[in-house]
C-alpha cells in the first residue's frame, strides 16, 4: 500500500504554539490553486476559546485510512503521499469520514477531497516556525 516507502513524512503543530495566523492556509491554496483561498487549503486552523489554535493537517498515516475508505479507487499512495485521481472521484466524502484527524477537506464547489501532498509549502511560511517535520516508519 505504501508504495515501497519505508519512511513517511508529515508536519505537526502544537496548538499552544500556533498563533492562528493561517499563513499555512494561504500558502497552501496559493501553491495548489494559484490564489489565496483558505477554503481550498489542505490545512486548516481553528481557534478555540481556551487559547488553542488547532491545526488540522494530514499525518500521512502509515495505514492511510482515507485511501482504504475510498470506494472508487480515486485515492492512492504515491511517492510517499496520498494522491487523488479526480476523474475517478465520486465526491462521496468517505475519505473525510475515515480521517482520524479531521484533515480531509472538500472543494466548496466541486466536492472532491483536498488532501495534503506533504509538499511542505505551509511549513516554509509559518512565521513562528512551529510546524515540525515528523518522520514515521511506514
Amino acid at each position: 500500500m505504501a508504495g515501497g516507502h519505508l519512511v513517511l513524512e508529515h508536519y505537526e503543530v502544537d496548538p499552544r504554539e500556533c498563533t492562528g495566523c493561517r499563513y499555512c492556509e494561504a500558502a497552501c491554496s496559493l501553491e495548489h490553486f494559484g490564489k489565496v483561498a483558505p477554503a481550498l487549503a489542505r490545512v486548516r486552523v481553528r481557534r478555540h476559546d481556551d487559547g488553542r489554535d488547532e491545526v488540522s493537517m494530514c499525518r500521512n498515516c502509515p495505514d492511510h485510512p482515507c485511501v482504504e475508505a475510498c470506494p472508487t479507487g480515486a485515492l492512492s499512495v504515491r511517492e510517499g503521499h496520498v494522491e487523488l485521481e479526480r476523474e475517478l472521484c465520486a465526491a462521496c466524502g468517505a475519505c473525510g469520514e475515515a480521517c482520524p484527524y479531521g484533515a480531509v477537506f472538500f472543494h466548496p464547489a466541486e466536492g472532491y477531497p483536498l488532501i495534503c501532498v506533504q509538499c511542505g509549502t505551509c511549513a516554509g511560511f509559518c512565521p513562528p516556525g512551529v510546524m515540525k517535520l515528523v518522520r514515521v516508519c511506514g
Binding site: C21, K35, V36, A37, A39, G51
Partner: protein
C-alpha cells in the same frame, strides 16, 4: 482584477435591497482601496446635511488590495462614516479574519445604507446576500451574537457585530469582529445600531488571485523575514503593545489622572511584563500576521475572572493609568467588558476619567453620580461604570454621548477638563512628553487620534530610522521628542504614508513602527499582487490626495485652524512630573510648519492649486464660499 475581488456590495436597509456594482478602476488608480476609496464615496454620498445617526448616513466597510493576501498583516478593513461623536469625517479600523472573509466572498467593500425598521443582520455567503431578522440577537452581547450566528450558519463564517452599546447608540460604541478585534473609534457602533443592523456574518469560499504567481511567494517570504528580523517586532511578540505601559510612563507620555500627568506610579503593576508573567495564555495573530502582537489573556479567579483578547497598551492607559487604576485584573476585566458590550476602550476610559476629575472638583452633581464612588483609582467603579455606559444606566447615560457633550451640560469649568480634539477623546498619549503627538492629535481628520499620523520614531532610540525615513538633515531635532522642531514635516510625511497603508489594507505595525516595509515594498507588492504600476512618487501623491480629500470633507463642515487645537491643559499647564516636567505643547509653531508643508492656507484650508496638483479637481468647487 488581480489583488481585488472586483465588486462592491451595497445593502439598503430601508428598501431591503441588495446591489452589486463593479469596482471602479478609475477610483482604484486614484485611491487603491480602503480609506481612500471609502472616503471618496463618503465625500460624494454623505453630504453636510446628513444626520450621522439618521438613515442617510452610510457605513463603508472597505478592504484594500493587500487584505486577504499574504502581505504581512494583510487582514484589515476600515469602516468609514460621518461620525456621530464628532460630526465630521469618521473612521475606525480593525484586524482579524472578517475582512479577508468579505474579500474571499467576492467583495472589496460593503456599503450599508438606509435604516431598517426592525433589527436585522446581513448574511453573506459568496454570491448569496440576505437581510435577515435579528430579533433574537438584539440585546445579546458580541460573543453571544457570534456564537448564535456560527451555530446557525456554520463555523466557517466570520462575524462583525455590535453589542448593547451600539444598540443603545452610545457614542463610544464600536463594531467588533472575530470576538475581540475592534473597529473602535468615532462611534461607528452607534451608526450601525441606529440602522438596527446587529451583525454582518460572512462566508467566503473564493480567493484572491495575484498577478505574478512566480515571484509572489518569494516576495512575501522576504517581507515576513524582514519584519521578524527587526528587534522592535521581536519585542512586540514578547510583550505585545502592553509593553509600552512601562516605557511610556518612563518618558512621561502615559495619560494619568485625565492627563494631569504623563507619569503613572502604578505603571509596572499594570504593565506588559506583569501581563506576560501572570496572565498571558499566548500571543495571538490575525490572518496573515507575522508579528502576533495580539495578547490572549486569562484572569483565572476572583471577581474579574475572564478570558479575553487584549489588553492593548491603549486599554491599559485608558481604563488604567488615566483613571489612576493600578489593579491589572480590573483593567483586563473592564477591557473584556468593552469587547463583549461593543465599546471603544479608549473612549470609555476617557469619559470615566473625565467624570472622575469633574467629581473631584465638585462639578458633577451627586444626583447624576448616584451610588458610585468616583475617587481616582477606584477599580470597581471603572468596571461598573463601563457596564453602565454600554447600557445607558444612570451616570452611564449621562456620559454615553461622550465627555464633551456631558461637560457642556455642566458648564465651561467642566468643559475645560475634557481631553478631546474636535469632540473625540485623546488616546494614550500625553503630548507634553512627545510634541509630535500633540500636532498629530490636532490635525487628525477624525479628531484626537494617535494613529492618523502615528508619529512614533521620536519616542527615542530610532535615530537611524529617522535618517532613513525623513533624511539626515532633520537630525538631531526630529529625534528629540521634547522639541517641536521639524515635527510639522514629520506629521505631514506620516499622515500621507498612513493613508497609503490604510488604503492597501496593511497594518501600521511593520510599516510605521518599525518602519520596515516602506513605499518601495508597497510599490513592489502592488506590482506583484495587482499588476499595478505605481512608483514611489505616485504612492506619495496618492497618500497626500487621500489626506486632502478627508480634510476637504471636514472643511466643508466648517473645520478650520481654530479646530486643530488641543485642550488648554496641554497648551498651558506644564507637565508636573518626569522627563517632560515643565513642558507644554508648542502647537502654533508646529501647526505653521505643518500647513506650509501641506501647501494649505494659514487657516488650514487646502488651496485650489494644491487640490489640482493632487488630482482632486472635483473638490475645487467646494472651496467656493469658504472663508
Amino acid at each position: 482584477m488581480y489583488g481585488y475581488a472586483g465588486k462592491i456590495l451595497r445593502v439598503d436597509l430601508t428598501r431591503g435591497e441588495v446591489r452589486k456594482e463593479p469596482l471602479d478602476e478609475n477610483l482604484v488608480r486614484r485611491f487603491l482601496g480602503g480609506t481612500g476609496y471609502a472616503s471618496w464615496l463618503l465625500y460624494h454620498e454623505v453630504g453636510p446635511g446628513v444626520d450621522p445617526l439618521g438613515p442617510h448616513n452610510k457605513l463603508y466597510f472597505f478592504t484594500g488590495p493587500f487584505t486577504g493576501t499574504m502581505w504581512p498583516q494583510g487582514n484589515r478593513y476600515v469602516v468609514t462614516t460621518r461620525s456621530p461623536l464628532t460630526g465630521i469625517w469618521g473612521e475606525a479600523h480593525a484586524a482579524g479574519h472578517w475582512a479577508p472573509a468579505l474579500k474571499f466572498a467576492g467583495y472589496d467593500g460593503l456599503v450599508v445604507e438606509g435604516e431598517s425598521p426592525r433589527p436585522v443582520y446581513i448574511f453573506i455567503s459568496d454570491e448569496r446576500v440576505e437581510i435577515r431578522d435579528a430579533g433574537h440577537l438584539w440585546g445579546k452581547n458580541v460573543h453571544e451574537t457570534e456564537d448564535m450566528l456560527l451555530d446557525a450558519h456554520g463555523d466557517d463564517c466570520r462575524v462583525a457585530s455590535i453589542g448593547p452599546a451600539g444598540e443603545n447608540r452610545v457614542l463610544v460604541a464600536a463594531i467588533v469582529n472575530d470576538r475581540d478585534r475592534v473597529a473602535a473609534r468615532c462611534g461607528v457602533g452607534a451608526v450601525m445600531g441606529a440602522k438596527r443592523l446587529k451583525a454582518i456574518c460572512v462566508r467566503g469560499t473564493g480567493g484572491v488571485e495575484v498577478a505574478d504567481r512566480v515571484r509572489y511567494p518569494g516576495f512575501c517570504r522576504r517581507m515576513i523575514q524582514k519584519l521578524l528580523d527587526d528587534p522592535i517586532a521581536g519585542t512586540r511578540v514578547v510583550y505585545g503593545t502592553a509593553g509600552l505601559m512601562e516605557i511610556m510612563s518612563d518618558i512621561g507620555r502615559v495619560p494619568t489622572w485625565n492627563l494631569r500627568s504623563g507619569v503613572f506610579p502604578g505603571a509596572r503593576r499594570i504593565g506588559g511584563r506583569r501581563l506576560r508573567q501572570e496572565y498571558l495564555l499566548k500571543p495571538r495573530a490575525d490572518f496573515a500576521c507575522a508579528q502576533r502582537c495580539g495578547r490572549y489573556v486569562e484572569v483565572k479567579e476572583g471577581p474579574f475572572r475572564c478570558r479575553t483578547g487584549g489588553p492593548e497598551f491603549e486599554t491599559l492607559a485608558a481604563l488604567g493609568s488615566r483613571c489612576g487604576v493600578d489593579d491589572l485584573e480590573a483593567v483586563i476585566y473592564a477591557g473584556y467588558l468593552c469587547n463583549v458590550l461593543g465599546m471603544d476602550t479608549i473612549g470609555a476610559g476617557a469619559v470615566i476619567s473625565w467624570a472622575m476629575e469633574a467629581w473631584e472638583l465638585g462639578l458633577l452633581p451627586r444626583e447624576l453620580v448616584g451610588d458610585l464612588d468616583l475617587s481616582w483609582g477606584n477599580a470597581e467603579t471603572v468596571v461598573e461604570l463601563t457596564r453602565r455606559l454600554a447600557y445607558r444606566e444612570g451616570l452611564g447615560d449621562f456620559l454615553a454621548n461622550g465627555s464633551l457633550r456631558a461637560a457642556r451640560e455642566l458648564g465651561p469649568e467642566a468643559e475645560k477638563l475634557v481631553m478631546h480634539v474636535k469632540g473625540m477623546e485623546i488616546a494614550g498619549q500625553d503630548p507634553r512628553g512627545q510634541k509630535s503627538m500633540g500636532l498629530a492629535m490636532a490635525t487628525s481628520a477624525r479628531g484626537a487620534d494617535h494613529l492618523y499620523a502615528f508619529p512614533v520614531l521620536d519616542e527615542g532610540g530610532f535615530d537611524e530610522e529617522i535618517r532613513r525615513v525623513y533624511g539626515p538633515q532633520y537630525m538631531p531635532e526630529m529625534a528629540d521628542r521634547l522639541s517641536p522642531v521639524h515635527k510639522g514635516h514629520m506629521v505631514y510625511v506620516n499622515e500621507n504614508w498612513a493613508a497609503v497603508v490604510e488604503s492597501v489594507g496593511a497594518c501600521k505595525y511593520g510599516t510605521m513602527v518599525p518602519p520596515t516595509l516602506g513605499y518601495e515594498e508597497v510599490a513592489e507588492g502592488l506590482a506583484l499582487t495587482c499588476g499595478l504600476d505605481c512608483s514611489v512618487a505616485d504612492l506619495e501623491k496618492l497618500g497626500e490626495r487621500v489626506v486632502n480629500l478627508q480634510r476637504m470633507y471636514n472643511v466643508r463642515l466648517g473645520i478650520r485652524r481654530a479646530h486643530d487645537t488641543l485642550p488648554e491643559r496641554l497648551l498651558k499647564e506644564p507637565a508636573p512630573d518626569g522627563p517632560a516636567r515643565g513642558h507644554v505643547v508648542e502647537l502654533d509653531y508646529m501647526l505653521d510648519e505643518y500647513y506650509r508643508e501641506r501647501g494649505w492656507r494659514e487657516d488650514g484650508v487646502p488651496t485650489r492649486e494644491r487640490l489640482l496638483e493632487l488630482g482632486l479637481p472635483e473638490l475645487v468647487r467646494d472651496l467656493e464660499g469658504v472663508r
